[in-house]
């Protein structure tokens, strides 16, 4: 009897924790939605979504989200182009090629990489990477999208490597043995058998990495220059969604138009990351089947 009771208590506690997370996410969404809707009462939704300039403290203010959205998009796409090939390749190396001793060292180094605070990376970007890029590429300023992309790619790497490596390792051993048995070389096996089998897990890792890049604030705010311009190239300064919220929230009087506009930006960001996580989840589920 007491055993049943304790089991019941534990079961309900677990159920409660699970439900709590769902409720919290839902409440968060409602909270963002409520304050964003207050903006659309005084500022038309169309002008917010398709406006081409972000001038929050002008008279009258303009809250066009397009430059910020494109800023985030440029930085994120740049980061993906850099980190996906590097991340997947290192995962392949760690999972299949590296000797066991090196494997352990590499895995713990990747974990250390994940624990570097973003402020530190931002500082490196300001003092070293930005000026270096400016000199090498002959830019007008090193505070540009590419500096942000490089640092964010660096931040996303551990996520991608860890998850992709897990996916590669969990490919059944018999597949590999069958390939070798048919006379395939090591590279052929890795490229044609193991990689396709692990693709769902790898894509999930990539998506989670992208989620991290889009949501990252500190690095973006410190190194991308924060110009609210519609970017034509990744080599010019731009302003991301996250940096806008972080940079302006302190100043906005609660209850003002500007305040609600920042919540609306938050909602846009929330929707984007939600979609990305949803896709990642779908791939992860397929990987498990």
């Amino acid at each position: 009897m007491p055993r049943r009771i304790s089991e019941y208590i534990i079961e309900s506690l677990i159920k409660f924790s699970g439900l709590l997370v769902i409720i919290l996410v839902f409440l968060l969404f409602l909270f963002l939605l409520k304050d964003s809707l207050s903006l659309f009462g005084v500022y038309p939704l169309g002008k917010f979504l398709f406006g081409r300039s972000w001038l929050p403290i002008s008279e009258p203010p303009r809250f066009g989200v397009i430059p910020l959205f494109l800023g985030s998009l440029y930085v994120t796409v740049g980061a993906i182009i850099i980190c996906v090939p590097v991340g997947v390749a290192s995962a392949m190396f760690i999972a299949e090629v590296a000797p066991k001793s090196l494997k352990l060292v590499l895995k713990s180094l990747v974990e250390i990489l994940a624990s570097i605070p973003s402020v530190v990376l931002g500082f490196i970007g300001i003092v070293w990477l930005g000026p270096a890029l400016r000199n090498v590429l002959g830019l007008t300023t090193g505070m540009c999208g590419l500096t942000g992309s490089l640092l964010l790619a660096f931040m996303a790497l551990p996520t991608i490597i860890t998850i992709a490596e897990d996916a590669l390792v969990s490919v059944p051993r018999s597949y590999k043995e069958a390939a070798f048995g048919l006379g395939a070389t090591r590279w052929q096996t890795l490229w044609r058998i193991i990689l396709p089998c692990a693709s769902s897990g790898i894509i999930a890792g990539v998506m989670l990495g992208i989620g991290r890049v889009i949501g990252e604030t500190m690095v973006a705010m410190m190194v991308t220059g924060n110009s609210p311009v519609i970017p034509k190239s990744i080599l010019q300064p731009l302003r991301t969604l996250t940096a806008t919220i972080a940079g302006e929230m302190g100043e906005a009087v609660s209850g003002s138009e500007h305040y609600f506009a920042l919540f609306a930006v938050g909602l846009v960001l929330f929707v984007i990351t939600f979609i990305i996580n949803f896709i990642a989840d779908a791939f992860l589920r397929r990987a498990r089947k």
Binding site: P67, V127, G247
Partner: protein
């Protein structure tokens, strides 16, 4: 078991009582003052409050920065006693404050000059406000136009939460609010702190930025500025004489006439001893004259 818990409880109570047991002299003023706001003067206000607490040991003063906008927002939501500001409150902010039963009272506590800085290798030494206007609105894009090298100008500004940003916008971008439709060029980099602006100017030959004159150092070059014919450097003397074109007052705001500890603090800040602290941290005291300058 019970005895142990009791003993632990007794210990806790003793620690608590002893910790709070600072006896207050009934003849001395006591209380708590929360100050929030401008990053420009946060160091100066911190220094004033340290001196203040030496004179009034039973009054505790807490100083936080965050930007002028943060201080004003928190005065309106009644979470601070004194808001420090590097710009005047906007009519819209006063209106929102009044709606919430807050009636801001303004005190000018010091003056500050805004220095326009460039890289030390930049041959340009002086600009007029008109030149600055052209540069920061994007109408002029190359240093060649001002006698410099053939380089694209990189303009640096603070974020919109900065009172300095708003002052610069009103005086230079909108030429003293004459044309409020003018904006910073969208190419302008909005950086998060005065120190970041310094770092970019130090490493980038094409950069131009602005900041409080307390931040001017050997590593960068502050330009001479002119509104009319004469050019003046950003220094205490020219800010006092009002010949340097970009200078502004720094403010304290309270909710209505200050009372109690907040009143003591503001009186202290405006006293010669308080003003001395502002001078030591690189600002110009209120009502200072050239003779007072050392």
């Amino acid at each position: 078991m019970d005895a142990q818990i009791k003993a632990a409880l007794v210990c806790l109570v003793i620690i608590f009582v002893v910790g709070c047991g600072q006896t207050v002299d009934p003849n001395e003023p006591s209380g708590f003052v929360q100050i929030k706001g401008s990053d420009t003067i946060v160091n100066a206000v911190q220094k004033v409050s340290e001196e203040f607490m030496k004179d009034y040991p039973y009054v505790f003063v807490a100083v936080t920065g965050g930007g002028t906008g943060v201080g004003i927002a928190s005065l309106i939501s009644k979470t601070c006693d004194v808001a420090s500001a590097s710009r005047e409150m906007k009519p819209k902010e006063i209106q929102i404050a009044n709606q919430r039963g807050v009636f801001p009272k303004e005190f000018v506590v010091a003056h500050d000059g805004i220095a326009v800085i460039v890289n030390k290798d930049n041959p340009v030494n002086k600009l007029t406000i008109g030149d600055l206007h052209k540069i920061f609105t994007g109408k002029a894009a190359n240093w060649k136009e001002f006698g410099g090298k053939n380089l694209r100008i990189v303009t640096l500004s603070r974020e919109v939460s900065s009172g300095t940003h708003i002052y610069f916008k009103e005086e230079v971008i909108q030429l003293g609010k004459k044309d409020t439709s003018q904006e910073f060029s969208a190419q302008t980099l909005l950086l998060t702190s005065s120190q970041t602006i310094v770092e970019e100017v130090v490493t980038n030959e094409a950069a131009i930025g602005y900041l409080g004159m307390g931040y001017v150092s050997e590593r960068i070059k502050a330009l001479l500025l002119a509104k009319g014919e004469q050019f003046y450097p950003p220094d205490v003397e020219n800010v006092i004489k009002k010949t340097y074109p970009l200078s502004r007052p720094l403010y304290f705001y309270t909710n209505g006439e200050p009372t109690g500890a907040a009143k003591l603090f503001i009186d202290f800040a405006l006293s010669p001893k308080g003003q001395e602290q502002f001078r030591e941290t690189g600002f110009v005291p209120v009502g200072a004259t050239i003779a007072q300058k050392d």
